[in-house]
């Protein structure tokens, strides 16, 4: 016996209940997966979102690590806009990031293309370039400090053999940031090599064959085929490099403690000093929020720039 009702109903009468039923079914189907994600989401919420919101609140207050905070409105932001040391750290951070980010990505791109061409031992070379990244920063920094020492470091020995003056890399305000840039490039470029290498492997080989048939030479192939198809991976690398390098802290803490003459003091390092040493959590939070806005803005711009229209 058919259960079908033959009564006429208004056209929209069943639409809402059906849509709600569909939504409920979708939620039920997805609920188990969200349940599995819940612990991670809780951790992210508890250890990232909540502290971030708390810091934003603290940026409008004056107070220390412990004890009461007094609401001061935008005074901290006004102070930051005129604070000579904070402005110096902003300049240093930008200088450092501008020097490091494009250099490390371009270097990683070149190395990954070279390794990709090797007929054998690709894994060995990938491991070799990745090794500095897994070295603890304290060890890497101490090694680097010997490499760049003015009088007995090998780098200055090379400069002297080329007839150039020795440089006190970590003691000269002009060269201190480049000294740290070199170390961070050495330490960090392996990470991007791995990512770009994986992206290179995903490019169909017949595109290269087609380009060769059309008479393109190696450099033209790299410029016209490889780089455009690596655009999503390059975008990812640029964004990650920007985020990492704008937050530089460990190398400064170990090697130079912000010196000489505040020339290597980064925003992250100065936030740490203000929060823990000077017990000025309000101002430290303000600087942190400014850094967050800068990194967020740059990341959005890069995301927009690297949005890829390439399909293959």
């Amino acid at each position: 016996m058919s259960a079908t009702s033959t009564a006429r109903v208004a056209p929209g009468a069943l639409a809402v209940p059906t849509a709600r039923r569909r939504t409920l079914r979708r939620v039920r189907e997805s609920a188990f997966w969200y349940l599995l994600l819940a612990p991670s989401l809780l951790v992210i919420f508890g250890f990232s979102i909540v502290p971030m919101l708390w810091s934003i609140y603290y940026s409008f207050t004056k107070g220390g690590m412990l004890g009461k905070h007094t609401f001061v409105g935008v005074d901290n932001y006004v102070n930051a806009a005129q604070h000579p040391i904070f402005l110096q750290t902003l300049r240093n951070t930008f200088q450092y990031a501008v020097m490091t980010v494009p250099t490390v990505i371009i270097l990683a791109l070149i190395v990954s293309i070279v390794i990709f061409q090797l007929p054998k031992f690709q894994g060995f070379f990938r491991g070799t370039v990745y090794f500095p990244l897994i070295t603890p920063v304290v060890i890497a920094a101490n090694i680097w400090a010997y490499i760049v020492n003015r009088d007995f470091g090998p780098l200055n020995h090379i400069l002297a053999s080329l007839g150039l003056a020795r440089i006190d890399w970590l003691g000269d305000p002009t060269w201190a940031i480049p000294g740290i840039v070199m170390m961070e490039i050495w330490r960090g470029f392996g990470f991007y090599v791995i990512i770009l290498f994986a992206a290179l492997q995903a490019i169909p080989k017949d595109l290269y064959e087609a380009a060769r048939i059309d008479g393109a030479r190696s450099l033209r192939i790299i410029w016209s085929v490889t780089v455009p198809l690596l655009r999503p991976a390059l975008g990812f690398c640029f964004i990650m490099a920007t985020i990492f390098n704008f937050q530089l802290f460990d190398a400064v803490y170990v090697l130079t403690e912000g010196g000489p003459a505040w020339k290597t003091a980064t925003v992250s390092w100065y936030v740490y000093r203000q929060a823990f040493q000077s017990d000025n959590v309000g101002f430290a939070s303000t600087m942190g929020v400014v850094l967050l806005v800068v990194i967020f803005t740059l990341s959005l711009l890069q995301l927009r720039f690297f949005r890829s229209d390439v399909e293959y």
Partner: protein, 441 residues
């Protein structure tokens, strides 16, 4: 294209089973949480601990590589004489004092008794983390020098028991001096000439260790005193380093000897590199602490002949100066009702601890008036200690802004050492940076 994951429907029974499984796992994990080290007990928990014995947590940054070994017999003796009190001693690395103490106070599990030097404690007083023990130890005042007791006083109250004193001065590598035929300097012209004569960068030998490290203020404050200047005014409201004498002193050491003459180690040298150079006899004059003489120099460089001089007087209103600061034993505000904590504090203030730990253990200065120098005191240490009796000692000005002021002084000094700024410009920059934050506490 359909999503294979979405094609799997979840029945109510399946949903409930999954939730139950997850909750069970979570509950098991919580029940199986390992028992950690004994948690610090403080304040109101004392009564609950009485039946099981009182636990006192004692934190101290190290003054020796053998810190834990030095304290073990001393604390065992205390425990044997105070049945029912157990002391847990932890060595806190200097590099993480700020973070560990802040985390402990914020987490409500601070150490009951702890050591901090004078430049560190005002911050924790302002955070209401250190117990005001003015009434508890008022009668101890006569046991200590005025300078020691004054250092323990901040905002009109006494916060800690003076524990040890630190003295620092120039240590001369006389092997280098004798090799080059240079006499011990007695004034700044001789000091500059000695640094120049001892330096041979091609051989990796330096007349002077550049005062470029992060703790450089222990050199700069006596240097300012040599020019008759202080970093902060006595009322802690202004920066007073940029007097004519202060500028002259910074100019002499940092601008002329280090930058112009290049008679020092590279400004960018790390602590490890400098240590290697000092102990291998490659530095003529370095600024050292008394505790390093026996523990480091005599042990690791026994063939080096040493001498010592203070920071030499530069101007008429200046003086021969040496760095001298004091460390104290404090009781946490959260522990002040705890009997065991105060008993430990009393024990740490005894003559026995002054002799066994401070003198014999770490070669620093006992602060109680009745403690005689050791019969086998190192002559370099004896010389540095004698300067204090002659009024050479200059140290921390107890202020919550002291560390910010010294930070700025260190950074600006580095600008002079590197030739970026003149001494006048650097000290004026310290005034501009630090002046606005000084609020008289």
């Amino acid at each position: 294209m359909s999503n294979p994951l979405h094609d799997q429907t979840l029945s109510r029974r399946g949903f409930l089973r999954g939730s139950a499984a997850l909750l069970s796992v979570t509950a098991l994990a919580a029940c199986a949480a390992p028992a950690g080290a004994p948690a610090a007990q403080s304040g109101g928990e004392a009564a609950a601990q009485a039946a099981a014995g009182e636990q006192v947590l004692f934190w101290k940054p190290p003054h020796s590589e053998r810190e834990a070994d030095l304290w073990q017999p001393l604390l065992e003796k205390f425990q044997s004489e105070n049945a029912g009190i157990t002391v847990e001693h932890q060595v806190i690395p200097w590099g993480s004092v700020d973070e560990q103490f802040t985390a402990a106070f914020a987490g409500g599990s601070p150490p009951d008794i702890f050591y901090l030097p004078d430049e560190w404690y005002p911050k924790y007083v302002n955070q209401s983390q250190i117990a005001d023990i003015t009434d508890k130890i008022a009668e101890w005042q006569g046991n200590y020098s005025d300078a020691a007791w004054t250092g323990a006083t901040y905002k009109g109250s006494t916060w800690g028991a003076p524990f040890l004193g630190v003295a620092q001065g120039w240590v001369l590598n006389m092997n280098l001096f004798n090799e080059k035929g240079v006499a011990t300097p007695t004034n700044w012209e001789e000091f500059r000439e000695a640094a120049r004569a001892l330096t041979d960068t091609s051989a990796g030998v330096y007349g002077l260790q550049a005062p470029a490290q992060v703790t450089n203020w222990v050199v700069m404050v006596p240097l300012l005193a040599a020019g008759g200047a202080k970093l902060l005014s006595d009322d802690l409201l202004t920066v007073t380093a940029n007097t004519e004498g202060g500028v002259a002193a910074v100019k002499m050491l940092c601008e002329e000897i280090v930058f112009t003459d290049q008679s020092s180690t590279p400004v960018g040298s790390t602590d490890d590199q400098l240590r290697d150079l000092r102990l291998s006899g490659k530095i003529g004059m370095s600024w050292e602490e008394t505790s390093a003489i026996k523990a480091v120099w005599r042990t690791q460089a026994p063939d080096l002949e040493l001498a010592t001089i203070p920071m030499l007087q530069l101007t008429d209103d200046g003086k021969n100066a040496s760095w001298a600061n004091i460390g104290f034993m404090f009781m946490a505000e959260a522990a002040k009702e705890k009997e065991g904590a105060f008993k430990l504090l009393e024990y740490l203030a005894t003559d026995e601890i002054q002799v066994e730990y401070v003198q014999k253990g770490v070669d620093l200065l006992p602060l109680k008036n009745n403690i005689a120098p050791l019969p086998d005191i190192d002559p370099i240490v004896a010389e540095m200690v004698s300067w204090l009796g002659e009024g050479y000692g200059v140290g921390t000005q107890i202020s919550i802004h002291w560390r910010e002021a010294t930070d700025s002084l260190v950074q600006e000094t580095q600008a002079v050492l590197s030739g970026v700024k003149s001494a006048q410009e650097a000290l004026d920059a310290v005034v501009a940076t630090v002046g606005p934050v000084l609020d008289g506490e």
